[in-house]
Amino acid sequence: MQRPLAPGLAELVDEHYRAVFGYAYRLSGSVIESEDLTQQTFMLAQSNLSQLREPRAARGWLYTIARNEFLRRRPVPSTVTLDDVSEPSMPEPDPGWPEGELTSEQLQAALNELPIEFRVPVVLFYYENLCYRDIALQLNLPLGTVMSRLSRAKSQLRRQLEKHLLESHPG
């Protein structure tokens, strides 16, 4: 049965559903799971709407709900390993950024190869646009851990993307 929505909920959906879906997609890499996460996020928002006191904070609040829900569904192993992601070292002489636009799919393919512990801070940094300190607060991690995970994740992402771009634009 269709019922009237809680006051303010339809506006919250109108304004933020695209952003929440995109966020969920970058985290999960699956359209189906992102739709489910988006729906679950707004359901939880609906039952906790009174907690949102500052409308300007709505998007960050929804991102937090979506991220908690995403992480809740995926217990992370207690030891974090990223064997093939090394500490950044002195770069090779730079071949230059390969020709061609980076597409949404290429980026997602590279993101999917990152373990969750590394993918999540990358999404918070580039998608949610948070600084290192806020990422550390949100994920309840020491700042140094966030810096090192982001640095290693960025290096791997870059290597993956350069590989993809060179494959699609040889020469």
Partner: protein, 251 residues
């Protein structure tokens, strides 16, 4: 500053520059002013960051998602809207009897459900409620637990680290507390946070584990025993480190 250190710091540019202690930021700026190869590396990292950010935020959204979301939410709205229906006159007394019977049934069911059990909660709303209402809030702003259930932690390890009087958290917006929250403070392990408990019958999706080995990204762990579902929430330190420490000292 040498080129190696500069390149490591450049990896964090451009938005992270203000996260660096200002002396380091200044040292990096001085180095870049005098080292063209590092400057060009910094510029390139800046371009890559922008291109990554723009690709990151352009996600195609399914056309009908908006409509499906609204209709799904309307189906799950907690308060039902009332539709006045029109009955023909001759069925009015039947309708009255039916209403009376329905009223008695609702009264009976209501008394059973309202008096014996509050609505069940999803684990996510427990975790979100606890995070929103407890994390990094001063204890002085919290209410003492109203003893709506007998909150007794069974595990002796947790008993030792929980402060004696729990605080109460309301999640379902009905009167009374739904969660009992014990402040946990273990200076030797540099851990500070919360142990939250709720009767197992209140939770729809009870976490499968009976031991807090399922840790969600170091911030929360959820598990159950035969009476309660527990959620541990870290404010300082990580739940995974705490549990690893306990595991290693038990071994």
């Amino acid at each position: 500053m040498d080129c190696h250190t500069a390149r490591q710091m450049i990896e964090m540019l451009p938005r992270a520059a203000h996260d660096l202690p200002s002396a380091e930021e200044q040292a990096l700026r001085d180095h870049l002013a005098h080292c063209p190869p590092c400057l060009s590396a910094a510029e390139e990292v800046g371009e890559w960051d922008m291109s990554l950010q723009s690709a990151m935020t352009s996600v195609p959204v399914p056309d009908d998602l908006h409509e499906r979301l609204l209709s799904q939410l309307a189906r799950s709205t907690p308060q039902a809207g009332r539709n006045a229906s029109q009955f023909p006159d001759r069925t009015r007394h039947i309708r009255r009897i039916a209403s009376w019977l329905a009223f008695c049934l609702v009264l009976f069911a209501g008394s059973v459900f309202w008096l014996s059990r509050a609505p069940r909660l999803e684990l996510a709303s427990v975790e979100n409620g606890a995070i929103q209402q407890l994390r990094n809030r001063p204890d002085t702003g919290l209410a003492a637990f109203d003893q709506s259930f007998a909150a007794a932690v069974a595990d002796s390890k947790w008993q030792k680290v929980c402060q004696s009087s729990p605080f109460g958290v309301n999640v379902d917006k009905r009167a009374g507390h739904d969660l009992a929250a014990f402040r946990v403070n273990i200076p030797s392990l540099r851990f500070r946070g919360w142990l939250v408990m709720v009767p197992i019958s209140r939770i729809v999706d009870v976490p499968p584990s009976t031991y807090p080995d399922a840790v969600h990204y170091a911030q929360t762990a959820a598990w159950h025993d035969d009476r309660f579902v527990y959620v541990c929430l870290a404010e300082q330190g990580s739940v995974e480190a705490l549990i690893a420490q306990w595991n290693s000292s038990a071994a």
